[in-house]
Assembly symmetry: C2
Homo-oligomer: 345 residues x 2
């Protein structure tokens, strides 16, 4: 770790000044506070002459005044803030991209997306912390919000609560991200390739259970009623753990493995290869996420491609829900999956 | 892309209710609004009996009232919000971990960290958008904030502005993250290994210039005055581009390459190996970031380990600055680098 010492830089202390208010701007521009508010908040419906607008803007610039988002939302009774609690799980590149798209799409609809970390706070307590920010909409990734939490948020003025998770929550719109389909695709693919004794990696990394459990269940569901068996393989994200699993591979009597994602696939493939286990002959391997690294591995990695909802459409759903808060909650299946077969299976 | 259809779920419409206020809580509990505020905002200095506290809390729960963070910050004159604009560059796992640590450390100091995406907005315009949220402190990753932006934020009441970037900005505290040292370490290492014709990968991915330019400059600085040459190698993050570069490798007459980071190293190593170029004999390769994937490559990847500031210390710096807004801006070198030599160099 780099230590941060306490030596001051050479610049002189900044003078402390009082924060300018809209009253200061009104005084300098010679207009009412209401006029300042209309001009700086772009209230289009109010007719104000261009010279007056310019005078207000010049005064604001001179004083260094910017409108106060909180004051504006207090006056309006609601904000344009969409709150998105930061997810409690490690975020991969695929999910990051989805979030970025969504934020950009909401920004184009004139919402402000705020990500808010509430690590260590759960369920109703988290909902209360979110409600304090008086968001107009809340988008909750993962599980952890119950019907009471939804109620707390709505009572605090949230017009729309949208969950992104495996199950719908009463009172909230739901984008059903059931990772069951990911495991189902992988299991069905391995069965089609003639494999019958299938291992499933379950990461030990905290925060991933919400994804790994349904993926495992999906593999089981795909193989139900067949002669294939499913073996759960817990694995930590480190080379030692992977080497130990690879050393046991032949004793386990398995002929295939679904590795949860491409990164665990890379880890396990390396360990299997170091152990002399041939891929795919002795171990067919399927990852998930379809990252570029899978194409760089040898043999090239088969993977499950996840089809996430499009950020623009989700932004549209949020906007419709905000405009019509009394509408019935909608639930949409929002996760598709398909196997990209390469050389490892 | 998964399409989001517009079929409603089966749940009935939620009734719209008016948002309860602290006045409603006061009425139900039979106390003043000030008492409600003292109890729910945990103002420890005010003596209120436990039965009264309980009555207020019960009334708040019954009505579904939560305090309004914006109203509280308007009363207090400032918030406990630390604003951290979302970075405009693709974030790797190392940086994510740093941000997570920092958020947790600030939360323990009772700050609320809000990440706020302002993509497409730059410089002073961005500073005004951030100022509207009246944060008590602003932590700006990367470049893009000038002295005028710092002034806008301070006039809007921000007690501390901290930049994390290559250069200090007038009026703001600076954590100097000069990526020069990363390139310097890589260049010096390759020179020590006897290499004299050194290529440097410069990613074409947008948003990375702020890192790639100083890393390249660092390699040049390390080799200045020696007989070694430095060749800039622009590279897009795709296999086709890597294959084309690998096909030209022997014509380039280079004997080593610093690949910007470990992910580009993986991409280029695969392409070089597919081309039959021996690593490290014909091309010594050094990455950066010290990701696990480097240990999984064969030959194992040499890399530059980045030593980022510790989240807890940075949180301490923010807190000191908030408590003493008139103090002189501090500037700290906050990036260390050391080479982890493995088999590729």
């Amino acid at each position: 770790m780099v230590q941060i010492p306490k030596t001051p830089a050479s610049a002189p202390p900044a003078p402390t000044r009082s924060v300018p208010t809209s009253a200061d701007v009104a005084r300098l521009a010679g207009v009412s506070r209401a006029t300042v508010s209309y001009v700086l908040n772009n209230a289009g419906a109010v007719r104000i002459s261009e010279p007056t607008r310019r005078r207000v803007r010049d005064a604001a610039r001179e004083l260094g005044y910017v409108p106060h988002a909180a004051a504006r939302s207090l006056r309006a009774g609601h904000s344009r803030t969409v709150l998105m609690p930061a997810p409690a799980f490690p975020v991969g590149p695929l999910y990051s991209q989805f979030i970025n798209e969504l934020q950009a799409a909401l920004a184009r609809l004139d919402y402000t997306v705020v990500q808010y970390g509430t690590s260590g706070v759960h369920d109703d307590e988290a909902a209360r912390a979110w409600a304090e920010l008086r968001p107009v909409a809340v988008l909750v990734p993962g599980s952890g919000l119950g019907p009471r939490g939804v109620d707390v948020l709505k009572r605090a003025g949230a017009r729309a609560v949208v969950t992104l998770g495996p199950e719908a929550v009463e009172g909230a719109h739901a984008l059903l991200m059931d990772h069951d389909v990911v495991g189902h695709s992988a299991g069905a693919h391995l069965f089609d390739r003639g494999r019958r004794r299938i291992g499933v990696i379950v990461p030990r990394e905290p925060g991933l259970e919400a994804f790994s459990a349904p993926r495992l269940a999906g593999v089981r569901a795909a193989l139900r009623g067949t002669d294939a068996t499913v073996t759960e393989l817990p694995l930590a994200a480190d080379e030692g753990a992977a080497a130990r699993l690879a050393a046991r591979w032949r004793d386990l009597g398995l002929d295939a493995v679904f590795t949860y994602n491409d990164e665990y696939a890379m880890l396990l493939m390396r360990a299997l290869q170091d152990e002399g286990v041939r891929i795919p002959e002795e171990a067919a391997v399927v990852g998930a996420d379809n990252l570029m690294l899978g194409r760089l591995l040898r043999p090239r990695l088969s993977t499950v491609h996840l089809d996430l909802p499009c950020g623009r459409e989700l932004a549209g759903l949020v906007d419709r829900a905000v405009r019509d808060p009394a509408a019935a909650p909608e639930a949409h299946k929002a996760l598709g999956a398909s196997v990209v077969r390469r050389e490892s299976s």
